[in-house]
């Protein structure tokens, strides 16, 4: 009952989860027997569970007891450890206290030391102040301005709070007075230095100028010093430039450099400024610190701009630049030759403008490099923002200076004039085109490329990438549209088809006719002469087209090298290389257009001149019977019926082309010819019939034809005649079944180019082969 009771009460805090689910009250309130029984059985079940749990716990008793024993054994040891730990803690606390004591003393010492230092510093400062006051007075009296400035500099670099503190001291009034004196001295020194500097500037006394220039930064007048100094330098630049300009006006037109005198003047100006920068940079750097060169050059650039303006104005006036430009513009619109400006007249002025621009670019690059390196030294510790700001101000200086803008304007005009020069000169070259006898190409190709090269070369010499690319683009347009159009028109005239009889007579007889008709009178010759000329012109044009295509590639390569040189010298912006590359790629594309044109011309030649003549010659094959016996075979042996004459005809025809065409084009043409022969011959063979000996005869004919064609072409022609050779092989068979020795698995190295159907078709050409045998073949 006790167990049940305890079980019924349940564990404290539990909700009856571990103990009984029935409370005492609930049991008491039970009255019904079945309910009682159910409660009882539930309690019994619970008792059993509890029993089991108890047993499990009892089983653990042993282990727990043994653990207890070990714990008891540990007891004394723990006490020992506790004692030790307490002792250790005591020691640590002691040490800690000790250390704190020591360090606090050290800290106090340090503080004392610092104060001492400050005191000494202040004492020093006060002493310095006094020393400065005395020193300035004496130095000023002795006119030793460097010394005075050094004192002032010392005073200025003193901590203002120190001075303030000293004034609060006992001797405040004295120091106040002294300070006043010092400030007065500072003002006086400033005025004196400025006056002296101005005087020195006026006298052009460089040592004195430099002397006072060095004093300015000591007085904290960096900007003023730089601006005054650059004023002096500017005056020098101006004087020199004026002299130079006067010299220009006096220069004789016959002078060697007269044509580029303005470029030379600009060069002198730039060189002068560069020299000034070079000589004075060390002083500025030493006395003003790095990063100040920008200010100096900014001042100088103003003067430079003014001088450049003068020179360029004179240039425009003297060389009539604007009027020439107007004239060119008008000439481009108008087509009447009378009003057109002679391109040759533009030549010198174009050269001079590019030279002027090249000098400016060189100068600007020099300045840029100098300022950048100066900024780099000064900005080594600066934040990214300041660096960015410096870069921006430099860009602004370079891009917005009058020099840049003036040159941009000049180059703008130059491009138009150079374009005009190129177009006009090229037009002239085309108009004056002649072809010397024996020459494969006519004069205009060399002339045109000489001109284009010259114009691009001149644009290149301006060192302006944009200008160069613009001229490359203009040249590309010129070559692609207009010049190609010229050649295209010539090719469109076509190769005059000669009549069959003419060819029969051959070239020599044609010449004979020409001679005889020459004696008769001019009227008759005109027909033949003009045909001959037209032929010649067509062939020359073909050669021209090919050479053009090659020249363009050569030009592109040369330009690539030249541009690489220019870029390696640091000209051009970040995208310069990509720009040039793109423009040159456009130019190279034109080369392909010429190649296409060549192909068009060749196929035109092939279809109008070669095909109509070769075809009848091949058709003659049909009139020669190949269904022959021994006797006829022998007769053929003695008097060749077809192939010899065919070869002679071919030779005569090709000789004309060989003489008139470049080797490369001639090769292409003979390749077209061999293809044509192969196709046409195949057609006629399939229309003929053959006996065994006829097959042999055809084989012989084919061999001599191939042998001849091999000698005139450099390409291998075996490929083109492979089908025909295989047809000859079939026509030469003893029996129908013999083909099986060569066909399929027995073919060995031979690759059949005839389909089985075609092979049968060829076999059927042999009159002595029975069609049943052919049908029975398994191919």
């Amino acid at each position: 009952m006790a167990v049940a009771g305890s079980g019924l009460r349940g564990p404290p805090g539990g909700e009856g989860g571990g103990g009984s689910s029935l409370t005492m009250e609930r049991i008491r309130s039970l009255t019904d027997l079945p309910e009682l029984e159910a409660a009882y059985s539930r309690l019994c079940g619970e008792e059993k569970v509890v029993q089991e749990e108890l047993e499990a716990l009892l089983e653990q008793q042993n282990t727990i007891e043994s653990k207890m024993v070990t714990l008891h054994r540990l007891g004394p040891n723990l006490q020992l450890i506790e004692g030790d730990a307490r002792q250790l803690a005591g020691m640590i606390t002691f040490t800690c206290n000790l250390a704190e004591n020591v360090s606090s003393k050290v800290r106090q010492l340090d503080l004392a030391k610092n104060r001492l230092y400050q005191a000494i510093q202040r004492a020093d400062d006060i002493l310095d102040l006094k020393f400065c006051m005395d020193g300035v007075q004496t130095a000023l009296k002795k006119e030793d301005y460097e010394q005075a400035a050094a004192h002032i500099h010392r005073y200025l670099s003193l901590d203002k709070s120190v001075i303030e503190l000293s004034r609060q001291g006992k001797e405040g009034s004295i120091i106040d007075a002294n300070l006043k004196l010092l400030q007065e001295a500072e003002q006086r020194l400033k005025t004196i230095v400025t006056e002296k500097f101005n005087a020195a500037t006026k006298e052009g006394d460089l040592p004195q100028v430099e002397r006072f220039f060095k004093i300015f930064p000591l007085l904290g007048l960096h900007e003023e010093g730089l601006s005054k100094f650059s004023e002096y330098l500017c005056k020098q630049v101006a004087n020199k430039a004026e002299e130079n300009l006067l010299l220009v006006m006096e220069t004789d037109m016959s002078d060697r450099r007269a044509a580029v005198i303005f470029a030379d003047t600009l060069t002198l100006l730039f060189e002068g400024i560069a020299r000034i920068v070079e000589t004075h940079q060390p002083i500025v750097e030493t006395y003003y610190g790095p990063g100040k060169l920008y200010t100096l050059i900014k001042h100088l650039q103003v003067e430079c701009d003014q001088q450049v303006e003068k020179v360029v104005d004179k240039f425009i006036q003297q060389r009539d630049y604007h009027r020439q430009f107007q004239h060119v513009q008008n000439s481009m619109v108008r087509s009447s030759a009378a009003d057109k400006i002679e391109p040759r007249e533009l030549d010198p002025i174009l050269t001079e403008v590019t030279l002027m621009n090249a000098r400016s670019e060189l100068y600007l690059r020099f300045i840029k490099r100098r300022i950048i390196s100066d900024f780099e030294v000064g900005d080594s510790m600066a934040s990214e923002e300041i660096k960015q700001a410096h870069r921006k101000s430099l860009d602004k200086l370079l891009n917005n200076c009058l020099l840049s803008r003036t040159m941009q304007e000049l180059i703008g005009y130059y491009i138009t004039m150079e374009e005009y020069f190129m177009w006009e000169t090229v037009n002239k070259a085309v108009a004056m085109d002649t072809c010397e006898k024996g020459q494969l190409i006519s004069s205009m190709v060399d002339d045109v490329f000489y001109i284009v090269k010259k114009c691009i070369g001149r644009a290149l010499s301006s060192s302006s990438i944009d200008c160069l690319c613009a001229m490359i683009n203009h040249s590309t347009t010129l070559l692609e549209s207009d010049f190609r159009e010229v050649l295209c028109t010539k090719l469109k005239l076509g190769f005059p088809a000669t009549t069959f009889q003419d060819i029969q007579r051959g070239v020599t007889s044609a010449v004979n006719i020409m001679h005889s008709s020459l004696q008769q009178g001019k009227l008759d010759t005109k027909g033949i002469e003009s045909t001959d000329e037209a032929k010649q012109s067509f062939l020359v044009t073909l050669n021209n087209v090919e050479v053009c295509s090659e020249n363009i590639m050569t030009l592109k390569k040369t330009l690539e090298n030249d541009c690489a040189k220019l870029l390696s010298q640091g000209f051009g912006g970040e995208q310069a290389e990509a720009k040039i590359e793109s423009c040159l790629a456009d130019m190279a594309a034109v080369s392909n257009k010429f190649r296409d044109l060549l192909q068009e011309g060749l196929s035109e030649l092939n279809s109008t001149a070669v095909k109509p003549q070769v075809k009848p010659w091949i058709n003659l094959f049909l009139s020669v019977s190949h269904n022959i016996e021994e006797e006829e075979f022998n007769d053929y042996e003695a008097n060749d019926p077809w192939v010899q004459q065919f070869i002679v005809n071919l030779e005569q025809q090709m000789a004309e082309f060989k003489a008139g065409l470049s080797p490369v084009i001639y090769d292409s043409l003979s390749s077209l010819l061999t293809s044509l022969i192969a196709i046409e011959l195949e057609k006629v063979v399939l229309k003929s019939t053959f006996s065994r000996l006829g097959g042999l005869q055809f084989d012989k004919e084919l061999r001599s034809l191939i042998a001849y064609l091999t000698t005139v072409t450099t390409w291998t022609i075996r490929d083109k005649f492979a089908r025909l050779s295989q047809m000859a092989t079939i026509l030469n068979l003893e029996r129908v079944t013999e083909i099986l020795d060569y066909w399929g698995p027995n073919s060995g190295p031979l690759t059949w180019r005839l389909t089985p159907a075609e092979a049968r078709q060829v076999l059927a050409l042999r009159i002595d082969f029975r069609s049943e045998d052919i049908k029975r073949l398994r191919l």
Binding site: C467, C469, S603, A722, P749, T751
Partner: protein, 265 residues
């Protein structure tokens, strides 16, 4: 097929399906849902010609200070510089794409708007697949000038060879009402020019990416079509004139095969 893997920009040909703010149906030169079927199949078969990279040239023209450089910088560098810096001569950017699995470049030539650079800039108009004429939405005069700019640019190109776009910039500077009024004029201009009209803002970046994506998609399609036409032309030529040559190639492969067979034995 529609991913631009490099940039994950959508190719904007399915313009008629989209009702976005940048879309102005009156100012569209062409409506279609997809690339030309030939181009699609060529892209899928990777049969895009043997000649290396496809490049199209884009020329940007317009008055000074309308924001040509800003427009390009927003697209190419995703940057906007408040300070005005006049372009000297011509600037140049290359933007790389991959459209339908084919690498493709837009070569963008940014010309100077200043009068003194006209001689130099006009030398760069030639061979432009795309001409973008730019004006300032806040300055109606610049719109008037676009005709002259376009005329100059077209003179250097074969007629009908270039896509033309009319772009109004600085959309952020004008009110919506003013923008709409100007757009009406602009669309009229665009129709006369046979151009497609877009309003953008380089400062906020509004429509810039979409605009260039559209440019790239149209230029790419044209470039591919041209290429395909060329290769078909080439094939036809070979087929008609050089029958033997073709067979020669066949022979070569056959020979290669037989060699392979031989080595097997």
């Amino acid at each position: 097929m529609w991913e631009w893997r490099g940039k994950s920009k959508p190719a904007l040909l399915e313009i008629s399906n989209q009702r976005e703010s940048w879309y102005t149906p009156e100012a569209c030169i062409q409506f279609k849902d997809h690339f030309h079927a030939q181009v699609r199949s060529a892209c899928q078969q990777r049969n895009t010609g043997t000649v290396g990279l496809k490049i199209s040239k884009v020329v940007v023209v317009g008055d000074l200070y309308v924001g040509k450089t800003s427009l390009i910088n927003r697209f190419c560098k995703d940057a906007f510089d408040r300070d005005y810096k006049a372009t000297i001569g011509v600037d140049f950017e290359i933007e790389r794409f991959e459209i339908a699995g084919v690498p493709y470049n837009l070569q963008i030539w940014d010309t100077a708007g200043q009068e003194k650079f006209k001689c130099i800039a006009s030398a760069y108009y030639r061979g432009a697949e795309v001409i973008i004429t730019v004006f300032d939405l806040a300055d109606i005069q610049t719109l008037d000038h676009t005709k002259q700019w376009l005329e100059d640019a077209l003179r250097e190109n074969e007629p009908g060879s270039s896509f033309i776009f009319l772009v109004g910039t600085k959309k952020d500077l004008v009110s919506d009402a003013a923008c709409e009024r100007t757009e009406l004029d602009a669309i009229r201009f665009a129709n006369e020019m046979q151009a497609e009209y877009w309003s953008v803002s380089a400062k906020t970046g509004e429509n810039v990416k979409e605009f260039f994506s559209r440019v790239a998609a149209l230029a790419f399609e044209q470039c591919m079509l041209k290429e395909l036409e060329k290769s078909i032309g080439r094939m036809a030529q070979i087929g008609a004139g050089n029958l033997i040559k073709l067979e020669g190639n066949a022979l070569e492969t056959q020979e290669n095969n037989s060699q392979a067979n031989l080595s097997c034995c």
